[in-house]
Symmetry: none
Subunit: 301 residues, 2 copies
């Protein structure tokens, strides 16, 4: 296995043909074909099905392309460090943090404002992604620290410290009739347009079940995959959503209110890092800044 082969895999997954890949990489088509074959031979895995003169990626290819991407990212990073060292700029330390998409707008900047002042020579790299992706990136050491929801199995290469918790709440437009209730259950949501996330995930399944038990049919208007977009849809009157209060608190500036959802359910959130790896001072301080900002974001007004 070599780096060139991995670049081919990555590019081929995005272009879909050896000719386009060759062009993008400055190689000949036959070179690309050979590099792919070599990689398949090295891995003893069929990455692409040859169907009617076309290359169709296998499910295995999708999985391994992700690994390839991580390797290439690490290679880029090393090259970047080498370049910094060559230009005499003793390469600023880079601290990488993964956060859920819901945190980019106000949470992340607020967390970084003081931090950047206290660590002027540190470069920060932020990733906004799903809990699953963050989990993976921490394990793979692409990230120094990651904030994630504690749900399901935590990988063996990860240590997680719980830093926050929340309860399931129903987020409602401020001028909606449901806003007058102290709490909401499935019965209250009969015929109410719903905006739901996390389909097939454990918490979602539990939610679906509570509707079934209440004998209420869900009127799902929108399925989405981030708490942020769900809250925004609510604020625009597209329906109501049921998410963790942790995230709902991040959107208090929107014209929405939230009410506990019955049956009660709680969620835990944690700070993850690779197991057995001490954090640098800079990374540890960013971790502390994150915790402080979490406390601020969850304070009652």
């Amino acid at each position: 296995m070599n780096i060139r082969q991995l670049e081919v895999l990555r590019t081929l997954m995005s272009t879909g043909s050896t000719i386009a890949t060759a062009k993008a990489m400055g190689l000949s088509q036959s070179g690309v074909s050979r590099l792919l074959q070599q990689l398949e031979a090295d891995l003893s895995i069929t990455l692409f099905v040859r169907d009617k003169g076309r290359l169709i990626p296998t499910p295995e290819a999708a999985i391994l392309a992700r690994d390839a991407e991580n390797i290439l990212l690490a290679v880029d990073r090393m090259s970047g460090h080498a370049q910094d060292l060559r230009s005499g700029a003793a390469g600023p330390e880079i601290v990488r943090i993964g956060l859920p998409s819901s945190m980019w707008e106000n949470f992340a900047p607020a967390m970084l404002v003081d931090y950047v002042r206290d660590f002027p020579s540190v470069r920060i790299e932020t990733f906004f992604d799903t809990t699953i992706a963050i989990n993976k990136l921490v394990e793979e050491r692409v990230l120094d620290i990651g904030f994630l929801r504690m749900e399901g199995e935590i990988g063996p290469g990860i240590e997680v410290e719980q830093v926050a918790s929340g309860e399931s709440v129903c987020v409602i437009p401020r001028d909606h009739r449901l806003a007058e209730l102290a709490e909401i259950s499935a019965k209250d949501l009969r015929d109410v347009p719903l905006i739901l996330i996390g389909r097939q995930r454990p918490n979602r399944l539990a939610l679906d079940q509570s509707f079934k038990q209440a004998g209420v049919k869900q009127i799902v208007k929108i399925e989405t995959h981030t708490n942020s977009s769900a809250c925004s849809y609510v604020a625009h009157g597209l329906g109501v959503t049921i998410i963790s209060s942790f995230y709902a608190n991040l959107y208090r500036h929107l014209p929405v209110v939230h009410r506990p959802f019955i049956p009660h359910a709680r969620q835990q959130f944690g700070l993850a890092r690779a197991a057995g790896v001490p954090l640098s001072i800079a990374a540890q301080s960013l971790s502390d800044a994150l915790k402080r900002q979490i406390q601020l974001s969850q304070k009652d007004i």
Copy 2:
């Protein structure tokens, strides 16, 4: 740079001599010596000082050995996955749309408000992801339509209709001195904290090159991966960013201004769908709603 070289660096750091490294790796001493030299040449960095017939690691070696270790770990992980793989996983019409993360807050809800009213029985699933991921999801027919940046080769399974364009702009806090300039070039950004995205991607490389040609060292404070987070950081005074005006226009509500970045660069954005697949009426109407919302978002105030 190749994987063997990195293994040599790693082993050499722990054994201290080429002879022991050769033995540990099953190579000859001279092979090790050469691989080390090649790596130093490839990186243009002296990794070991030759002192009295001994190899003394430089500080640079320590930094880069850590990177090398990360790469090798990632390689091991990929091999492990390959091994695992070798040893052996319908209802209401749903219209799925992929959008960049930057569009969840106001763009997506605004697009959907009228749509939902016109198509009360349609369920919408929204995905907020990168251009690469959206491209893939469309091709795999996970998504009916996707909005993406036209960059690099488009896969054979996709049809893209250009629906928007933008130019590179520098996004600046409203009260910043640079906000008084009519346009911005790399020269204007000397010693200015930068928030950059898209490292190693074509457009970023071009941007990096324009700094190099201007003889200006980039002071990158934050690397991030979404236009939205970059704009939010700018709005919080953490630095300035250079992104496409298309995205900058989505953030006009923030206390930032944007100025054309010199040299001029343009970007094209398109609406993708799987090739040869006619859209359902619902999907086609969502596609039309997207186009209308794009026009609205790019209108001059």
